[in-house]
């Protein structure tokens, strides 16, 4: 399963939502009452465990994980950074992905 699909499935299952035209993936999950502190921590734990990534404090505060779209962007970026680091590329070579959500 693709990264985006795994994230989407987790959110749908965990937060009792179904993404569709009436509830698009760029919906702010806080504003819609989908996520609270417990849910946010659950999501955070899931992402770090599932994709073997670690968010820094500044990443968490600067770019909050508020929508499925935005979460996917961040996770893909972290995975790309990790891959670059593993293959010996300098971190500076990795271009950050735009945050659009």
């Amino acid at each position: 399963m693709q990264v985006e699909d795994r994230i989407r499935a987790f959110i749908e299952q965990q937060f009792l939502v179904e993404f569709d035209a009436t509830f698009p993936e760029d919906t702010d999950l806080f504003r819609e009452g989908v996520m609270d502190s417990f849910g946010y921590v659950q999501l955070h734990r899931f992402l770090e465990r599932e994709f073997d990534i670690k968010f820094t404090e500044s990443e968490l505060t600067d770019a909050l994980l508020v929508s499925c779209t935005q979460i996917c962007v961040h996770v893909l970026r972290k995975i790309a950074q990790r891959g670059a680091a593993t293959s010996g590329a300098a971190m500076d070579d990795v271009q950050p992905l735009p945050i659009t959500a």
Partner: protein, 665 residues
């Protein structure tokens, strides 16, 4: 303490008034099992189900003045009635009884609505002026005692509990989706909300006059936190806290029957038990709840304080089956949607208390609101000061906020910090302090197909208050607590309604106006508020065991959805069956189905707070619909047998101008 009912019906057939009154009183007879009384003339009827506490022999109701012009039906206690009586006697008023009922009646006659700010107590009453043909309803400042009213065609009805309206000919209950959205969002009804269309609760410190077909509502006092005395030093603050609470407890021990204490094991009720013990000669009767689930149980602390004070102690232990078996009965008394099950054990505790022969108890409600005991107040300060704090301070403060919540543990602090960062700026006008809490509420509104703006009502309610805008962030948080969770759940669903379900009157010494005013003067004056209720602790540190005076707040909770998931009672069909869910036209059935499936299929540890409380809301909405809207599970109630003062035209013809007193069943 009593239950009151009545109506003003100009065009109705008054020959039926006594029967209607008896049926309405029968619905709330649990509030006053000692006696029932009624009054009627040709347009108005008043009734009282009386729990006799002060002057049991002579305080019968409804009570009239000597002329028969004014008639009063009254629920509650005016604790400063002796002082008011002295004042009234100095003005030449003569009393026939030593009851607080007569003091209230004479105070109204002497001062009119000007008497209301003078009253120190929990009360709701109706007073009828036969000459003016006007009816006035009034309620205490903190919402300790209930009073509901509704317009039915051309009639105006009122009652201590809405269930009395069931007995009024032609009256029907209908759940109100707009109000339900508001209740789900903010966790509890606002002071005027009920969840039912057309039925309103009289607000806090409100009085209502019905005259010539017009209803006029006024507020006699607004809640502020700057009315207290000037306090110069911490030592003075501590001394005054102690003295003011001693006075408050003394006032609330005014009773002609024995007074007990509800003992949770926390600081607040321990202070009350301590002060009660010092005012009474024989051991105080104390009553506590214990839980089979260790994570909910405080019985060690209860044993410690009851042993220390040598009280005559009773403990009632609650398990999952107790919650489920009594949920419907307790909800019938609560009458409003509820987000927790913790009111059910209180229903059972009042039953046990009454069986033990006690019909008045003191309890600790209001201490956390007055003295900033909730973590919410610290959270508000933290978020308000967020931008000026360094990262280490933020982490340290967050870590101290909710140590009982697993997701606030060290491993998740970074995630929680990022969440707080997001909530460090106000998004909902005036509601900054409660924005994180309302995330849970926002989730609950997903039960509704069209929730609309669930927070419009509370935003408007706050904006309407003349002093709210100028309050500090923490004072706003306090104000919101005094308007929502305290009157909308703690004093009502978990307090008055459960106690009075079994004829027990609960009194709250921390909700004396002098105590609340004093707390406003000392809060955050001598500390930063991060040690909860520090001054209150210091005031009684020398008089309580260290394990109690230093004990951190332990939230009172009961098994919620876990109890239903474990027991699987038949009543679950109300939320599992599509046919049953379809009876709630406002419901998003797809979401409700998904929620229930998760609650019943996943371990309790995987159920979040918001899911838990949303499930409780769903259960209560469905069961309230069965009881009040469809009537299919409505608890039967026989008409009350009452003494009746008959001032209707027919009676007057036969009994001159004083009316006739008869017994009506």
């Amino acid at each position: 303490m009593c239950g009151i009912v009545g109506f003003l019906a100009r065009d109705a057939d008054s020959t039926k008034f006594d029967g209607i009154l008896a049926s309405m009183l029968g619905r709330i007879g649990h509030r006053g099992p000692d006696a029932a009384g009624g009054f009627a003339d040709d347009i108005c009827a008043l009734g009282t189900a009386r729990l006799a506490i002060i002057d049991p022999a002579a305080g019968a109701q409804p009570m009239s003045d000597a002329s028969g012009r004014y008639w009063l039906t009254y629920n509650g206690e005016i604790y400063n009635y002796r002082e008011l009586r002295d004042e009234l006697e100095a003005h030449g008023r003569v009393f026939r009884t030593r009851s607080d009922t007569e003091v209230l009646l004479e105070a109204w006659i002497a001062w009119g609505p000007e008497c209301l700010p003078k009253l120190n107590g929990g009360f709701a009453f109706a007073i009828y002026d036969r000459d003016l043909q006007s009816l006035v309803l009034a309620r205490d400042r903190f919402g300790k005692r209930p009073l509901y009213f509704t317009r039915h065609k051309d009639d105006v009805l009122f009652a201590s509990e809405m269930k009395a309206f069931v007995a009024y000919p032609g009256f029907h209950f209908e759940q109100n989706a707009g109000q339900i959205a508001s209740i789900l969002g903010q966790w509890t009804p606002l002071p005027h909300q009920t969840g039912f269309t057309g039925i309103e609760s009289l607000g806090l410190a409100e009085w209502l006059e019905i005259r010539d077909g017009t209803l006029t509502r006024r507020c006699y006092e607004h809640l502020t936190f700057d009315r207290g005395p000037a306090i110069a030093t911490e030592a003075d603050a501590i001394a005054r806290i102690r003295a003011t609470l001693i006075d408050s407890v003394r006032l609330r021990l005014r009773s002609d029957v024995e007074v007990g204490v509800y003992l949770s094991g926390g600081l607040d009720s321990s202070v009350i038990a301590l002060l009660t013990s010092s005012e009474t000669e024989r051991p105080v009767r104390t009553f506590s709840l214990a839980f089979e689930s260790a994570d909910l149980d405080e019985s060690d602390a209860q044993r410690e304080i009851s042993g220390f004070l040598k009280t005559d102690h009773t403990t009632l232990t609650i398990g999952h089956s107790d919650i489920v078996a009594n949920f419907e009965a307790a909800l019938y008394h609560a009458e409003v949607p509820t987000f927790r099950s913790a009111f059910v054990p209180m229903y059972l505790l009042s039953k046990r208390t009454r069986e033990a022969g006690i019909k008045v108890v003191l309890s600790g409600e209001g201490a956390d609101e007055a003295f900033l005991g909730y973590d919410l107040f610290k959270e508000t300060q933290l978020r308000a000061a967020w931008d000026g704090m360094d990262g280490a301070t933020r982490l340290q403060r967050i870590a101290s906020l909710y140590p009982h919540l697993d997701h606030y543990g060290p491993q998740d602090l970074a995630a929680v910090t990022s969440l707080y960062h997001q909530f460090s700026r106000e998004r909902m006008p005036g509601l900054f302090s409660h924005e994180l809490r309302f995330q849970n509420g926002r989730f609950s509104t997903r039960l509704l197909r069209e929730p609309g703006d669930a927070f419009a009502a509370i935003t408007g309610h706050a904006a309407h208050d003349p002093g709210f805008g100028a309050m500090t962030a923490v004072q706003k948080a306090q104000w919101l607590e005094f308007q929502t969770l305290l009157p909308g759940y703690l004093l009502s669903t978990q307090g008055d309604r459960m106690a009075l379900a079994h004829g027990v009157e609960n009194r709250c010494p921390f909700l004396d106006k002098a105590v609340v005013d004093l707390a406003g003067s000392v809060n955050l004056r001598f500390d930063d508020g991060f040690e909860e209720k520090r001054l209150l602790r210091k005031a009684f540190a020398d008089s309580l065991p260290p394990a109690i005076s230093a004990k951190r707040k332990f939230p009172y909770r009961a098994p919620d959805s876990a109890a239903f998931a474990a027991i699987r009672p038949d009543m679950l069909d109300a939320v599992c069956s599509d046919q049953e869910l379809a009876k709630l036209p406002y419901l998003d059935v797809r979401f409700a189905r998904a929620l229930v499936a998760k609650i019943l299929s996943r371990p309790a540890a995987e159920i979040s707070t918001k899911e838990n409380q949303t499930f409780m809301f769903l259960m209560s909405l469905a069961l309230l619909h069965r009881q009040f809207v469809s009537g299919e599970r409505l608890t039967p109630a026989a008409p009350a047998r009452m003494t009746f003062a008959d001032y209707r035209a027919g009676a007057r013809a036969g009994h001159a101008s004083q009316g006739s007193f008869i017994s009506v069943t």
